[in-house]
């Protein structure tokens, strides 16, 4: 597609429920990143996928968070048993540079509100 596409744009859920956030990167971009942005904060790195390599999960805040990338394209970020502190905007970005970042192209984000 023309840009990075994320869905849903907004999600309101109850504490304890599971949520799935989807990211469709720019076609041909091999690198895909998930970031989290809480109110008034910078972007917090969560996870990085590069091609078929094992993802770098070092930024995931707890084992309730997981992500997968199928076929080297679409990625899904799953948060299990959501907590109120999970409320944030989850941003996905892709890059065409292999191995490292350089310029990232961001999606519009998914705003998650946990009640």
């Amino acid at each position: 597609g023309a840009g990075v596409s994320q869905s849903p744009s907004n999600k309101v859920t109850e504490k304890g429920k599971d949520v799935e956030l989807r990211c469709d990167p720019i076609s041909g971009h091999t690198a895909l990143y998930w970031y989290r942005q809480s109110l008034g904060q910078g972007l917090e790195f969560l996870i990085y996928f590069q091609g078929n390599s094992a993802p770098d999960k070092s930024g995931l805040p707890s084992d309730r968070f997981s992500a997968e990338r199928t076929g080297g394209s679409v990625s899904t970020l799953t948060i299990q048993r959501t907590q109120q502190e999970d409320s944030a905007v989850y941003l996905c970005a892709s890059s065409q540079r292999g191995g490292r970042t350089g310029e990232l192209f961001f999606g519009e984000g998914s705003r998650l509100t946990v009640l």
Partner: protein, 112 residues
């Protein structure tokens, strides 16, 4: 652990003023520093800096990197209300987690 500190955290100026935003960093095996503009949701890329002392310029925006003192500045001249946004600085290092390390951003408000 890589670290990025931006200042000021917020800034309010009048249209036409010139502003300077600061970004200092600590990073293992520095590769690049990037500036992004975030107006509502998606940050958009402004500059990528890898070498000291070479100014990058785009219209009224310019940026420069000092790898000895570990900082970068973003200048905006003749500011306009459309420049109002959060400006994010990020660094890319060779150690630790992949991905950029972002600062908290500078929230810039341009008053007419």
């Amino acid at each position: 652990e890589d670290k990025v500190v931006q200042s000021p955290l917020s800034l309010v100026v009048h249209e036409g003023d010139t502003v300077t935003l600061n970004c200092s960093y600590e990073v293992t095996n520095f590769r690049s520093l990037l500036w992004y503009k975030q107006e509502k949701k998606a940050p958009t890329f402004l500059f990528m800096l890898t070498s000291s002392g070479i100014e990058k310029k785009s219209g009224r925006l310019s940026s420069i990197l000092d790898k000895k003192e570990l900082f970068s500045i973003l200048n905006i001249t003749a500011t306009q209300t459309g420049d109002s946004a959060v400006y994010l600085c990020a660094v890319e290092g060779g150690g630790g987690a992949d991905g950029l390390t972002f600062g908290k951003g500078t929230h810039l408000i341009i008053q007419p």
